[in-house]
Structure formats: structure tokens, C-alpha cells
């Protein structure tokens, strides 16, 4: 590193970095990537490989059938039903859920709020409750014959509601379980972002005579936009893979008419009930691409909003 050539070479700031130093950042992140390769990328590629075969788990021979599984998938009514159900549940749970999280976060963003820590911990409790327990409790609350809602209906002489019998009701209850679970979590994330907004912005808004609503939409929301995008993406990835709730609320088939059948439930059913690992892998790969596509769309929209 001499200046003999006359060109200005940037001096390394700090101490000299040797060969080991050049590689040390990669060494620091290597453990994660090695684990990811073993438990993430490896199985992913294997799933893709299995999807090209007719793979019955107990058989020793697995004939290669190319893209037949995918062709069958696109003409399978169950696949489209599962796709529709998954999107319905996703929209029903994500949109109200995130709006509710925003409202709760802004309510907690009040500096004169008492026992702040208690409120914040309370928000997390739904998130840490075991999923199976939550689903069982919701199933009994929304039971047709016995349960609090059935009891209330009976007291008022109203007809029974079969939440499991109607597709929209089933999906609504599942969406409700998802909202219940994740609203607090997302609210905490939004709250953290809101607390990072500089107070000077609020002061200048106050001086300009902005109302609470205008402050919220013109100051708070734009400042936490990256966080909102993060929450939307994580909610998307999670919401498109809902599994335990429909499994326990309905049954492994997704109900009498597949009303609770989500993509992941279909993968599970095809693999472990119908013993068709190849077909299930094909559906799983399709799900991967759908999730990637939606995440990509989210990203593009965010770029457009930012540049607008």
C-alpha cells in the first residue's frame, strides 16, 4: 500500500487487516449458513427432487415421473380449493390484524400511560400460548351444541350456528385465532418503531395545529413504514402456511367439504394420509413459489410507495 504510483489509494483506517481479517466476517456468519444449508436448503432441494417422482414412503422403488405431479396438481380441484381457502384466511386475518395492531400500538404510545410493562407483557401472552391449546379452546367456544356462544344463542332463542359447517364461518374462526395470536406481537413491533420517531416531529406538528388523526397519518405512519412492511411480509409468509388451527378445528381433511383445507393441510394429508410423498412435495414447492411471489409483490409495492 504505497503512494508511489501517484494515484491516491485509500488508506485503511485503523490497524492493518491481514489475510485472516479479510475472511473473518465470512467465518462469523458461516455457522448460520452451514446450519441453513443442512436444515433449510438441503431439505428444500430434496423436496424438489422428490416432487419429480412417484414416491410412496414405504416402497423401495420411486419411479421418476418428471413433471406429472405438477400437471396433476393444476387439474386437481382440491389444490384450487386449498389455494382459495388459504388466501381467504390470509386476507381475513392479516388485514384486520395489522390494523388492530396499529391501533393498539398507538394507544400504548402514550407517554402518560401507567404500568407500561404490564400492558406490553399482556400483549405477548397470546403469542406464547401453545397453539394446540388455543385451537382446542376456540373449538369449544365456537362449538355448535355446547359452548359459550351456543349457550348465548340458546338463551335468546336463536337457532344454532354450525361454525364448522359453513365455509366462511370456519375460515372466519380460523382467522380469528390467527388475529388473537399475532396482534399483540405485531403491536409491540409497531410500538417500538413508534417510540423511535423523534419527538421534534410531533412538536412541529403540534405547532402547525395538526389534529391527532392528521398527526397519526402524516407523521407516525410514514415514519414507521419500513416496520409496517416488515410486519406485512412476515404475516404473509406465516399466513399462507396456516396448519395447526384448521387441522384441529376441523379435521385432517379440512372438514366435510374441505372448508378449512389450507395448502399446508393438503400437503400433510397427501403425504401422511394418502402416502403420496411425491405429490405432496409438488404442492409444497408450488406453495414456496406462491409465497415468494407474494413477498416479491410486497417488495415492489414498497418500492413504488417509497419513490412516490
Amino acid at each position: 500500500m504505497t503512494a508511489a504510483s501517484g494515484l491516491s489509494t485509500p488508506r485503511t483506517i485503523g490497524r492493518k487487516v491481514g489475510i485472516g481479517g479479510r475472511f473473518s466476517p465470512y467465518l462469523y456468519v458461516a455457522p448460520f449458513f452451514l446450519l441453513f444449508l443442512a436444515f433449510g436448503a438441503g431439505p428444500l432441494l430434496f423436496t424438489g427432487w422428490v416432487s419429480l417422482h412417484s414416491w410412496a414412503p414405504l416402497e423401495t422403488e420411486h419411479p421418476f415421473i418428471g413433471l406429472d405431479n405438477y400437471v396433476a396438481m393444476f387439474s386437481d380441484a382440491r389444490f384450487w380449493k386449498a389455494l382459495g381457502n388459504t388466501f381467504t384466511i390470509f386476507l381475513l386475518s392479516t388485514i384486520p390484524g395489522l390494523l388492530l395492531s396499529l391501533v393498539i400500538a398507538s394507544a400504548l404510545n402514550n407517554r402518560s400511560l401507567k404500568v407500561k410493562t404490564f400492558w406490553r407483557m399482556a400483549l405477548l401472552v397470546p403469542n406464547i400460548t401453545p397453539l394446540v391449546t388455543v385451537t382446542l379452546v376456540f373449538a369449544s367456544i365456537f362449538g355448535r351444541d355446547y359452548g359459550p356462544i351456543a349457550w348465548v344463542l340458546q338463551t335468546f332463542g336463536l337457532p344454532k350456528i354450525d361454525f364448522e359447517g359453513n365455509a366462511l364461518l370456519t375460515q372466519g374462526v380460523i382467522a380469528l385465532m390467527v388475529i388473537w395470536r399475532w396482534t399483540g406481537f405485531n403491536a409491540l413491533i409497531f410500538l417500538a418503531a413508534m417510540q423511535a420517531v423523534p419527538a421534534s416531529l410531533y412538536e412541529s406538528a403540534e405547532i402547525d395545529g395538526a389534529s391527532r388523526w392528521t398527526t397519526f397519518t402524516q407523521v407516525t405512519l410514514p415514519m414507521i413504514r419500513p416496520t409496517i412492511l416488515f410486519s406485512v411480509v412476515t404475516s404473509t409468509v406465516g399466513g399462507l402456511q396456516i396448519f395447526t388451527e384448521p387441522l384441529i378445528f376441523t379435521d385432517p381433511f379440512g372438514g366435510n367439504n374441505g372448508q378449512g383445507l389450507t395448502m399446508t393441510l393438503l400437503v400433510y394429508g397427501q403425504a401422511f394420509s394418502s402416502f403420496k410423498f411425491g405429490y405432496a412435495s409438488a404442492i409444497a414447492v408450488a406453495l414456496l413459489f406462491i409465497v415468494l411471489a407474494i413477498a416479491g409483490i410486497n417488495f415492489l409495492i414498497a418500492r413504488l410507495i417509497r419513490s412516490a
Partner: protein, 420 residues
């Protein structure tokens, strides 16, 4: 140098005798190795019998892992697919069709002498454990038999007879059963049976063919037994008999206790379940024969996966556990009905009564029902097809579709499951 060499030779000879003796196959003392047999199942093994076996064979410990019905089969499937598995796997009759289709995943029990005990078991039940290539995959445990458990107090309220013989005479055929049910509904306004599916299941198991024929070809679309079973299920629903609760669901348990279920097609193993779920209804139930008498629902097999470490000991245990003497003890303990016909003449079995059910002669009733069964061929996709029919009747029960529309959709769904 000769003397030391001789001494060395003698020493070697002296040492090698016990070593050689130990190496001779078959002479190793059975109480040398400590063996743990891993059992995976969905129904608890009888504690007294397990303890008895462990006492008689002190070197063997039996480690039982019980999971939920579906979960235990999936765990077994994943283990077998990975080339692993327990020493003994319990597989329910509904799942057995798909497991027995790949006998390579299991240890063939014929070399251990399975063919010698074949005659001890019901032939149609034994056949379910034999693969196409002739290898014996599993030893049968119990069979279900089938009868109708009914509430004497509710029958009294409806003006129906309560004596078991008279009640059995009410319904020699399923048409009579539905007619009786309609009478009950008219008299009390309550529901008569738990679901249309329940009626379907009982009727569909009565023929000598079910979803597949002897060659494994699917015949559910044209088999009159299935069509009749469907029609009876729909008739029960249309006549208002059905409480529309899924078997073993939380609502079913509640309905049992609350009296929304006046009659229940019940295999022998369900009696213990009812006692557990609705203990307050003790003394209010009795048992009558099924319309058509013959019937069976349930049962399982004990299999030995290929990867089992102690196949011989596992075989010894399962054949001991399912031998007639032990099956008798099981029957007396919790009404698990034996699959060994020699017991059907046994006075201990024939005289067994159940106090929870007003001392109903459960032994006699279930023996009659099992003896009348011919058994039917089971195919690998039977469970999936059954699931479609159950969904179909569930749709009718829930008022989502008419009987005819649901039948068409069911056949479509079943064919699609088979085809793909």
C-alpha cells in the same frame, strides 16, 4: 521347551472350553441379556398382562409408547420410511391395508412359526395381516363385534320396551331400526343415534365385500352393500334421528352424557370408552343385538418392523399376548373382544356380563355378532375411501347437500383419491 509349551497348550484348552461353550448357538442362557422391547401403539396394553410377562421373563422390559390414533400411525410410517422403528408396532385395522401393501418394511413372521398359530385366529381377521406375497405381517389383537347400546330410561320415556330381548326384536332389519327411531323422535323430540355416519359404518361392515373385491379392484360405486349403507345413513338423517356429532369428538362425549344419543352402534371396545366418558350414566344403558346381527368394527394388529433389534423376543411377546388365555383375560378386564374362535365356546366368555350396562350379557351378544361375520377383503386405499363417505354423510347431516348430490360428490372424490 516342551513342558512350558504343553502347559500353554493345556491352559489354552482349559480357557477355550467355556468360551466355545458360550459360542455354541442356542446354549446362551436367556436370562443373560437385558432386553428392552419398544412398543408403539394407540391403545394401552393391559398393565397386569405386561407385568405378568415381565415377571415371567425377568430379562425383558417392555417400554410402551402410546400416542393418538392418527399420530401413532404417522410416527410408525416415518420411522419405517427411514428404515428404523420400534420392536413392536400396533396398527389399527383401518390403517393395516396400506401398511400390509409393503411387506418389505416388516419382518416376515413365518420363519418364527406364525403359520402354526394361524388356526387359532378368525380366518378373515388373520387374512388382513397377510401380504400379497404370502408373508405374515401382523398378529391380530382384538375384533370389535357390533351391537346396539341403548338408554333404557329414554326408551321408557318414549314408550318403547326396555328389556334387551324385546328391544332386539324391535329391529331385526335396518328398516325397522329407522322406524323405531322415528317413533322415538315423534314421542320425545330427542335424537336417536349419534350420526348418519355411524349407521353407515355399521351397515357397510356387514357384507362380504366392502370397497374392493378379492382382486383389489375398487367396487364401492356398484357394491349394493355400500349403496344400502349410504341409503340407510341418509334415511336416518332425513327422519331426524341423527344428533350430528362426530364420533369421539368433544360434542359426542357431551352428547353421550346428556342423553342426546339414545342408541349407539357400539363395538365391544367402545363400551370401555363410554364408561370413561359418561360415568354418570351408569346403569342407564343396556345392550341389544344389531339389526342383521353380524357386524364388526375395529381391531388391530401387532407387527414387527424390519429394523426391530429383538425380533425373536418381540415375536414371543406378541404371540403370548394374543394367545387365547391372555385374550380371555383382556376381555374380562376391559371388554376387548378376542379374535380367537376357541374362546367363543368358552363358558367364561359366554357368561361375561357388564355391570355398567345393567349386567348385559356382553359375552354372548358379541360372540353372536362376530360368529355371523364373513369378513371382507381390505384394500390399501380403504381408509381414504371411507373418509370420503364419512365426509359425504357429514355434508348431508349438516344440511349442506342432499343425499343424491352428496353421493355423486363422494364417488367423484373417492375416484380422484384413487386415481392420482
Amino acid at each position: 521347551m516342551k513342558a512350558p509349551k504343553k502347559a500353554v497348550l493345556l491352559a489354552i484348552a482349559a480357557l477355550s472350553i467355556p468360551v466355545l461353550a458360550g459360542c455354541t448357538p442356542g446354549t446362551a442362557s436367556p436370562s443373560d441379556e437385558k432386553i428392552t422391547l419398544n412398543v408403539w401403539g394407540f391403545a394401552a396394553l393391559s398393565e397386569p398382562l405386561v407385568e405378568q410377562y415381565e415377571a415371567e421373563n425377568p430379562n425383558i422390559t417392555i417400554d410402551v409408547k402410546i400416542s393418538d390414533y392418527d399420530a401413532s400411525h404417522q410416527a410408525l410410517l416415518t420411522a419405517l420410511a427411514a428404515g428404523q422403528g420400534p420392536d413392536i408396532g400396533q396398527i389399527a385395522i383401518d390403517y393395516m391395508g396400506e401398511f400390509v401393501a409393503t411387506p418389505a418394511a416388516f419382518t416376515d413372521l413365518r420363519p418364527f412359526g406364525a403359520e402354526d398359530i394361524e388356526g387359532d385366529y378368525l380366518d378373515w381377521r388373520w387374512a388382513g395381516g397377510v401380504a400379497d406375497d404370502g408373508s405374515v405381517v401382523g398378529i391380530p389383537t382384538d375384533v370389535g363385534g357390533m351391537a346396539i347400546a341403548y338408554r333404557t330410561d329414554l326408551f321408557e320415556q318414549a314408550g318403547l320396551p326396555t328389556d334387551p330381548a324385546e328391544v332386539s326384536a324391535l329391529w331385526p332389519t335396518w328398516d325397522d331400526y329407522i322406524a323405531t327411531g322415528a317413533e322415538y323422535v315423534a314421542a320425545t323430540g330427542g335424537t336417536f343415534v349419534d350420526s348418519g355416519k355411524s349407521v353407515f359404518r355399521a351397515v357397510s361392515n356387514q357384507g362380504d365385500l366392502k370397497y374392493v373385491d378379492a382382486d383389489g379392484e375398487p367396487i364401492f360405486e356398484t357394491n349394493p352393500v355400500i349403496r344400502d349403507a349410504w341409503d340407510y345413513g341418509v334415511a336416518a338423517i332425513d327422519a331426524g334421528l341423527s344428533a350430528n356429532v362426530g364420533t369421539f369428538s368433544a360434542e359426542w362425549n357431551a352428547a353421550l352424557a346428556s342423553g342426546a344419543i339414545a342408541t349407539l352402534p357400539a363395538p365391544a371396545w367402545m363400551l370401555g370408552y363410554m364408561q370413561g366418558q359418561a360415568p354418570d350414566t351408569e346403569g342407564l344403558w343396556n345392550i341389544a343385538t344389531l339389526p342383521g346381527t353380524a357386524g364388526n368394527d375395529g381391531g388391530s394388529f401387532l407387527t414387527i418392523p424390519k429394523a426391530a433389534k429383538h425380533a425373536q423376543e418381540a415375536y414371543d411377546f406378541i404371540t403370548w399376548l394374543e394367545a387365547p388365555e391372555q385374550q380371555l383375560a383382556l376381555f374380562q378386564e376391559n371388554n376387548t373382544f378376542p379374535s380367537t374362535p376357541v374362546l367363543y365356546e368358552d363358558p367364561d366368555v359366554l357368561s361375561l356380563t357388564n355391570p355398567f350396562f345393567q349386567d348385559a350379557p356382553v359375552g354372548q351378544i358379541y360372540v353372536e355378532s362376530v360368529k355371523a361375520v364373513d369378513g371382507h377383503p381390505v384394500g390399501p386405499k380403504d381408509r381414504i375411501i371411507e373418509g370420503q363417505f364419512q365426509n359425504g354423510l357429514g355434508r348431508v347431516d349438516g344440511g349442506q347437500q342432499s343425499g343424491e348430490d352428496s353421493w355423486k360428490q363422494t364417488i367423484e372424490d373417492a375416484n380422484r383419491e384413487l386415481g392420482n
